[in-house]
């Protein structure tokens, strides 16, 4: 067996394992140049492997990888279908784009003695997010979730060099995140009690055969509410603005583009694949609790963004409203709605990633994230400012940006479900987005720069990642076929129930004696 075949065979595991091992290696080297090189290599490797897997399952197949050759349900299984391959791509591509940017930005925003620690924690967080997405084992989800969460707390706290409030934000996040994770693990315990299994496919089979009982229903409740905190469903969003505002800019960009997306994916996976959406009680929860909260989030998030003084807080609140759109698509419970949710997962990752990076670039030059301090930067930092305009247009949902595609599909889903008021809400909340984006544009372009401040554009290593994401949000707004098609495949895989069907391509056993 050649090395290529071996890599191909073990791709699902290697995607997670490579960044995981890179973290201790970084600490062993203890040198920040080496740390950056190792992190970038590991992240790129994961991205390439995810891309290969997405190509394998894009047409609707499913990969089942047996860790150590132990067959599920006893062995731990990694299971990749279109839905999570898509999320893996989001996480690994964003990480690979953010890392080159992080190098300079971190040098500025994090104390020098913490740099290797930063890269190690970043890779652990990355590992956790990938692991949560790739695994087909329910308890594994919890383990990886904790890996990513614990490292996230550290990453947020590293912002303390810039602003001491990073510490209390990290602490807040720690308390709340732990409660969310505890809820989740309580739910898993109940599931285990009811089904005797931790393998998602197996749990789904057992649940489908048996009657639903109160243990199962309680398990569902705990899992959904626990994860709702992780993806910042309004009003469980309180940890998010603080964490995103005070974390180092590269961390904010990475987390905003990936962490909440992965949590949404977990909820999707549990609602559709593990529990199967056939049950009445699940539909009730989704339609009577999650949908109204999604609509409230769209408005409340946008309004809070409108009045935010700090640009990073503004973007964080805007994330809360954008999460509302994703959740809304999902709660419509039809194929188009789920497609809208998935496609917005991707498009918002690009857009918000670009915006946080751009604001980070402004902090890099001016040292301030306050909106009034950005006056006149349109002339002094033209490229960074232009990328904020592009990102802003995409947040609003202007045509020829990725955000338009998301909202268009979402509106179609609302009409398909016969809920036209939902479409009206989408349009109205977009109008509020116009207001907060305009605030940025006005300050950047229409207000004169204060006397005596002369700043120049950020270096190329920062500009290129920003523009890669900004151009991607235009590209996927014009050529939407790829994203919409991939999302539709993912949505249909989810709606079909189970976890990607019966006949999986089994990997990972070959090559064993």
């Amino acid at each position: 067996m050649t090395i290529f075949e071996a890599v191909h065979q073990h791709a699902p595991m290697l995607t997670v394992l490579v960044p995981m091992l890179s973290a201790p290696i970084i600490m062993l080297f203890g040198n920040r140049q080496a740390a950056f090189a190792i992190a970038l290599t590991a992240s790129t490797t994961s991205f390439l492997l995810s891309l290969q897997m997405l190509l394998l399952v894009a047409q609707g197949g499913v990969i089942s990888y047996h860790i150590g050759g132990w067959a599920p349900p006893l062995g731990i299984e990694y299971r990749i279908d279109a839905a999570n391959a898509f999320v893996l791509i989001i996480v690994s591509s964003i990480s690979t784009v953010v890392l080159p940017y992080a190098r300079r930005s971190i040098a500025d925003e994090v104390a020098a003695r913490h740099h290797t620690l930063f890269y190690a924690c970043y890779m652990l967080c990355f590992t956790g997010l990938l692991g949560v997405t790739a695994t087909g084992d329910a308890f594994n989800v919890f383990v990886f979730l904790e890996i990513s969460s614990l490292s996230t707390y550290v990453l947020v706290a590293l912002g303390a060099k810039q602003d001491r409030r990073a510490l209390s934000a990290a602490y807040d996040y720690l308390i709340l995140g732990t409660i969310g994770a505890t809820f989740f693990v309580i739910g898993l315990g109940m599931l285990y009690m009811a089904t005797g299994s931790l393998n998602m496919v197996h749990i789904a089979q057992v649940l489908a055969e048996g009657e639903s009982n109160r243990t199962v229903r309680s398990a569902f409740t705990f899992i959904v509410v626990g994860m709702a905190l992780k993806f910042a469903m309004y009003p469980l969003h309180r940890w998010l603005p603080g964490a995103y505002t005070y974390a180092p800019s590269a961390v904010s960009a990475f987390l905003a583009a990936t962490a909440t997306k992965v949590a949404i994916y977990v909820v999707l996976r549990f609602i559709f694949s593990v529990f199967g959406i056939a049950e009445e009680f699940e539909r009730n929860t989704v339609q009577y609790i999650m949908m109204p909260l999604a609509v409230v989030a769209m408005f409340a998030g946008s309004l809070m963004a409108t009045f935010s003084l700090n640009a990073k807080t503004l973007l964080a609140y805007s994330s809360i409203s954008q999460i509302g759109y994703m959740l809304l698509g999902i709660t419509l419970l039809n194929s188009t709605g789920l497609t809208a949710g998935m496609v917005h997962l991707f498009n918002h990752a690009l857009t918000k990633g670009a915006l946080f990076l751009a604001v980070g670039a402004i902090i890099y030059r001016t040292g301030s994230a306050l909106v009034p301090h950005m006056a006149g930067l349109g002339r002094q930092m033209p490229w960074t400012s232009a990328s904020i305009v592009i990102g802003g247009l995409s947040l609003i949902g202007a045509p020829a940006t990725a955000g338009f595609v998301s909202k268009w599909v979402l509106m179609q889903a609302a009409f398909e479900a016969g809920m036209w008021p939902i479409a009206v809400f989408v349009v109205l909340s977009s109008v509020i987005a116009v207001v907060y984006v305009w605030r940025l544009v006005e300050v950047l372009y229409l207000q004169p720069a204060p006397e005596g401040r002369s700043v120049s554009e950020v270096p190329m290593t920062m500009l290129v990642p920003i523009w890669a994401l900004a151009l991607a949000s235009i590209w996927f707004g014009i050529d939407a076929d790829f994203t919409v098609q991939a999302s539709r495949t993912a949505a249909e895989a989810l709606l079909a129930g189970g976890f990607g069907g019966e006949d999986a391509t089994i990997m990972g056993t070959r090559g064993r004696p």
């Binding site: 709340l176 229903r217 009003p235 009730n284 609790i289 009045f307 045509p399 036209w420 349009v427 919409v484």
Partner: protein, 567 residues
């Protein structure tokens, strides 16, 4: 020829390249060359659909050339060229880029074969054009531009909402005739109506156009509203209630125009009034009427541009366009005066001028379908047009009492642009067959019948007589320095008391409404700020325990819903 050689894309390419050119003359030359270049695909391409592409599984058509879109795209190109010539002396890159982007968007919208493409260009015209207002760089222009932008973008948002619903109901994104059966088509009509300045949706027009730069107003006057007329003709031809709407549009701006002092604002009111004729034509929807609307749009763009150009030249030389501060300029600006009079004769539909041969088509169509009242209203409106645009504009600017101003004649580029436009106005009037041959339908129409000419002359001479009498007896409202409504005693003597009263009443109610809305809006924003602003009750950093409480509440709610088996 490549099917992607799209006129609008040529404009956009020009708009991208232009700011990079540092040489001033080269920039002005580019501005002039782009409309010529972009006219080529228009003239060389045969009728058909080009530039098709798929988006989200739907086939969209970027370039649909048929007889209706050709007339409008052609006159837009012509207007873009003339405006560029008129603006030869302008060095401001913002205005130059905005002009190209704006003209390109309007042409792109006229050539759009589907609603998504239409929407993109529709918003393009809104965003590009506002910079022509902002280019004045005054505080007032900024706020005016903002109001204008909100309304224009709002029209686009309504259009998009309508398109989404229409698509949902009919499964079609094609931009063809709509039937007003679903909410979607109504919303689309509303968005067209906003851009077309329907009564009560018209305020942005008089607000924004006179606020733009000298050259900006010339550009603005040509595109947005005529694009809306095109869109109406394409989508809602023969929608009967457009006839009374159009008739109202011809009527009410007259009264405002008579008492208005700012000559550019007078022209804007008369623009609104001319749009009414076209909307009536669209509403009747017969082949003759649609031809009339298209022909009137064509000649209207030219003579309205000519009038704005001549008043603009006066503003450029004297720094004011207020009737009360002008007068006697014919002594030093004779050529501008001649061009202005030609424009005035055209808008007043003097025989042998362009307005006559197009407006009489609409009037014939109205008469043919037996809309007696509409016909009378249009006749009255025609007299009114002659009154406020045909006589008032040239009279107060160039004759009247001598203001003592002795400005130099307009620059050569302005004179050349006005000269070409004036020539076209007369050429169309003398030889209408050239225009008739490119109209959407093949209709033989003879404007110069004895009845038409005599009716028109009667109308014109009596109107002139009225003006003359009023001037000689001193009853005509003098051009006052401001549009202060406290001086209502003057026009009360002129108009029946009721007109003055209703204007004052409507204005007062309107002002109060605006004031009330502003107060309510401020209160609402303050309320929202109290809730959502930093430290507001929703967004203030409440303690972690509070969040845990929320977790418990949500958990409890979900649990209750799941375990208690509702429904």
């Amino acid at each position: 020829m490549s099917e992607w050689l799209h006129p609008a894309l040529i404009y956009l390419a020009g708009a991208v390249v232009l700011p990079l050119v540092s040489h001033e003359r080269a920039r002005a030359g580019l501005l002039l060359a782009v409309p010529l270049l972009a006219a080529l695909p228009l003239l060389l391409q045969t009728y058909g659909t080009y530039g098709q592409f798929t988006f989200l599984g739907e086939t969209l058509t970027a370039f649909r050339l048929d007889r209706l879109s050709f007339v409008f795209a052609l006159v837009f190109s012509l207007a873009a060229f003339l405006a560029a010539l008129y603006a030869w002396h302008v060095k401001d890159r913002v205005q130059q880029v905005a002009t190209l982007a704006y003209c390109g968007s309007a042409i792109g919208a006229a050539l759009a074969g589907d609603l998504i493409t239409l929407f993109v260009w529709w918003e393009g015209t809104a965003i590009a054009s506002v910079f022509l207002i902002w280019a004045r760089r005054t505080e007032g222009a900024y706020h005016t531009g903002m109001r204008y932008l909100i309304i224009q973008v709002g029209s686009g948002v309504i259009l998009l909402a309508g398109v989404a619903i229409h698509y949902r109901e009919t499964g079609s994104l094609a931009f063809t005739a709509f039937s007003l059966e679903n909410v979607g088509a109504w919303l689309i009509l509303l968005s067209f109506g906003i851009k077309c300045a329907f009564p009560l949706l018209h305020n942005w027009l008089q607000d924004a156009y006179p606020a733009a730069t000298v050259t900006g107003t010339v550009v603005l006057s040509a595109f947005t509203t005529k694009l809306a007329v095109y869109a109406l003709a394409r989508g809602f031809a023969g929608t009967e209630f457009l006839v009374p709407i159009g008739a109202t549009m011809t009527l009410f701006p007259i009264f405002y125009a008579v008492i208005e002092n700012d000559l550019r604002r007078v022209l804007t009111y008369s623009l609104n009034n001319q749009l009414g004729f076209m909307v009536v034509g669209v509403g009747i929807g017969t082949e003759l009427a649609i031809n009339g609307a298209a022909a009137h749009a064509f000649s209207h763009i030219l003579y309205k541009a000519l009038l704005f150009m001549s008043v603009g030249a006066v503003l450029f030389r004297t720094g004011t366009a207020k009737g009360s501060e002008l007068g006697g300029l014919y002594k030093t600006m004779p050529l501008t005066m001649v061009f202005c009079v030609i424009g005035a004769a055209s808008i007043s539909a003097f025989p042998l001028f362009s307005g006559f041969i197009s407006k009489s088509m609409i009037l014939s169509a109205v008469a043919k379908d037996g809309y007696l009242i509409t016909w009378l209203i249009l006749l009255f409106a025609s007299a009114g047009v002659f009154h406020h645009s045909g006589i008032k504009i040239p009279y107060f600017a160039f004759f009247a009492h001598d203001s003592g101003k002795r400005p130099a004649e307009a620059p050569w580029n302005m004179l050349l642009a006005m000269g070409i436009t004036a020539f076209l106005c007369i050429a169309i009037g003398v030889y209408p067959q050239a225009l008739y041959s490119i109209l959407p339908y093949d209709v033989t129409y003879e404007p110069y019948t004895t009845t038409h000419v005599i009716t028109q002359f009667q109308l014109l001479w009596f109107s002139a007589l009225a003006f003359g009498t009023l001037m000689l007896t001193g009853i005509y409202p003098p051009e006052l320095r401001s549009k202060n409504l406290d001086t209502d005693w003057t026009y009360r003597r002129l108009a029946p008391a009721i007109v003055g009263f209703s204007i004052r009443f409507i204005t007062t109610v309107w002002d109060e409404l605006v004031r009330g809305t502003m107060i309510a809006l401020k209160a609402a924003i303050a309320g929202l700020f109290a809730l959502f602003g930093p430290g507001g009750s929703v967004s203030k950093p409440f303690p972690t325990g509070m969040m845990v409480l929320w977790m418990a509440i949500i958990l409890g709610a979900v649990m209750a819903l799941n375990l208690l088996d509702f429904g």
